[in-house]
Symmetry: C2
Subunit: 349 residues, 2 copies
DNA sequence: TTGTATGCGTTATCAG
DNA sequence: CTGATAACGCATACAA
């Protein structure tokens, strides 16, 4: 159980395999790595010897030579953030399929900690680094000597030369509107979250553009910013529900806000979706799937984003770097809060 | 940017440091590692030389020798699970302070994947493994040859000889009741989640014991099991609210259920907490902090649990293994849903 | 096609 | 106190 015991335990090495196969160490190495020319029969002998001994090459001895560690560093600014999880999952997914593994480092959004972890990751000789932001606001690039492949996810790098993967928030806003229009809604309001988030600004921009394209305007305009809180969702909704013109749909800047909107709408005696439709963003299952009623939401496809970013990193490590901002696709997850209902004919405004 | 470039880049090695300090390789090594006796002046020279050259020892060369990799594996059955995050965070916290880093592996709760990842982790020569379960149900131990230190978190190992860290769900149930009793509530019901979860069974057991200790009984008994869903929270609450005797407090098996209870209570025109108090478990901020009203909840202290487990693993790696199930402390996070109010005098039952 | 010898960057064991 | 020197496990020119 202790380290000493493990040290004592003889790990089977390549020499053991070679001995068992009756060949030299070099031949065993070549056979196992598919190098050079090795007689098929010999290779077979070596391989079965390796299998019988359950040989697994010591990655450190190998790394000493190849300078490839089969490990990438994941620098996340805030692990305790629901958005990083699916990204991490996707990355782990894409990498784990190969044999590269993920070294995790949480910086707590702290510059000092970030530099510390960066140093540690470099020390561990990671093959590349995935930088995961806590929101989609562009962030300053990490300091490297340029020799280490880096890919940014969620929060893109401020340097457009770097490779970044971030969700398409503009499109997200657009498809929210298009979904509601398709459901026959016309008097749509956009209750937004914190203005300092580019996600908030881009989502409403996309929504506004889609409304314009349909010859409509957002009820209450495009500047209903507040906080990412249910409380603001409730109070914002209250203002909208009591205001004029009457809205028949509210797009909330994210699912948390949408929950507040649902609560307030119900408490005002409105039926959802017949009186008013509600749609959120992020498609956070815990908030959407089982709310009253279940909430339609735009899914930002974060897992896929993480997967793509990880793949790009692997490519970069392989010498095929990518550049620029890659927008991740998004899609709407329809639920009861925007279900089709027979709407009464109402004159516009 | 490519691998070749990096290979070309000359990494400063210990010989460089030694040369610059004008000492031998061996002396430099000793000086830097505080080994053996080295003259203070010499050590100083070596250290400054190392600093000037920004020397960082190649961990692979080192691992080749010491058999210690400074890396632990984290085998999580379900990364996309809110409970693993704080645990991971705590572990990362405890480990990152030293220089051990975390190799992440998500098994998707799949036996095949688990074995695969286990193999990979062993191949990468991790110093130890932290196994994080998706719930607190005991799980079968992972297959190792016993030479590798393993610590189980959240889901304890079925083998009592292994080291496990799991939250104290019994105590959690108890303090929920004690909190409500202290707030003057007497007719308390426990609306529970999925019966197959030991967390559900233990929480209600703790609650029941605490009621008994106060000479009371749970309204509706200890068997109101259902699902971990808001829908069940709503329908269960409906039954309780319309039933007899009238309850003045509902303990929900977790925060999700509690949200359903809140929704239903409000929709029945009840005021919270004056008419009825509600308390949940897990203290999931997104659900508790900003609900209507904010929800009191028992915090399972997962981050601390992760931290403790990680420390135990480090100890085990150092040759001081621990054994058995360690219960993590829990505490109540009071919010408005159980705030003190002037309760009307009511006869019991 | 196979084997020999050498080096990768450290640490550890000995002599000096 | 310091310095050669031998491992550690593997990959690879080069020789056979």
């Amino acid at each position: 159980m202790t380290v000493n015991d493990r040290q004592a335990r003889h790990m089977v090495t390549l020499s053991d395999v070679a001995a068992r196969a009756g060949v030299s160490l070099a031949t065993a190495s070549k056979a196992l790595n598919g190098r050079s020319d090795v007689k098929a029969a010999t290779r077979e002998r070596v391989e079965s010897a390796a299998a019988e001994l359950q040989f697994s090459p010591n990655p450190f001895a190998r790394a000493l030579h190849t300078r490839q560690t089969g490990t990438i560093g994941m620098l996340t600014s805030d692990l305790d953030n629901r958005f990083v999880l699916p990204i991490l999952l996707g990355a782990e997914d894409a990498l784990g399929a190969g044999s590269t593994s993920v070294l995790l480092a949480d910086t707590r959004d702290d510059v000092i900690r970030e530099q510390h972890h960066l140093r540690v990751l470099k020390m561990k000789r990671v093959d590349g680094i995935l930088v995961v932001g806590r929101n989609t606001n562009p962030r300053p690039p990490i300091e490297t000597d340029g020799s280490l492949p880096v890919v940014y996810v969620y929060a893109p790098s401020e340097d457009p030369e770097n490779a970044s993967f971030t969700p398409d928030n503009v499109k997200a806003g657009r498809i929210a509107v298009e979904h509601l229009l398709a459901r026959g809604r016309r008097r749509i309001a956009f209750l937004n979250g914190d203005m300092t988030y580019s996600a908030a600004r881009e989502r409403v921009a996309g929504a506004e553009a889609a409304m314009l394209a349909a010859g409509l305007e957002l009820v209450g305009g495009a500047n209903m910013y507040g906080q990412w809180s249910e409380a603001w969702g409730r109070s914002g909704a209250l203002a909208l529900l009591d205001g004029r013109p009457k809205v028949d749909a509210i797009i909330a800047g994210n699912d948390v806000l949408a929950r507040g909107v649902l609560d307030m709408a119900r408490s005002r005696g409105l039926r959802i979706p017949s009186d008013i439709a509600v749609v959120g963003f992020d498609n956070w299952d815990i908030l959407c799937q089982d709310s009253w009623p279940p909430l339609s939401s735009v899914d930002m496809n974060l897992q896929d984003l993480g997967r793509r970013a990880a793949r790009a990193l692997v490519e970069a490590i392989g010498g095929r770097p990518s550049r620029g901002i890659h927008l991740g696709d998004v899609r709407l997850a329809p639920r009861e809060s925007t279900a089709i209902v027979d709407l009464p004919e109402v004159p516009v405004s």
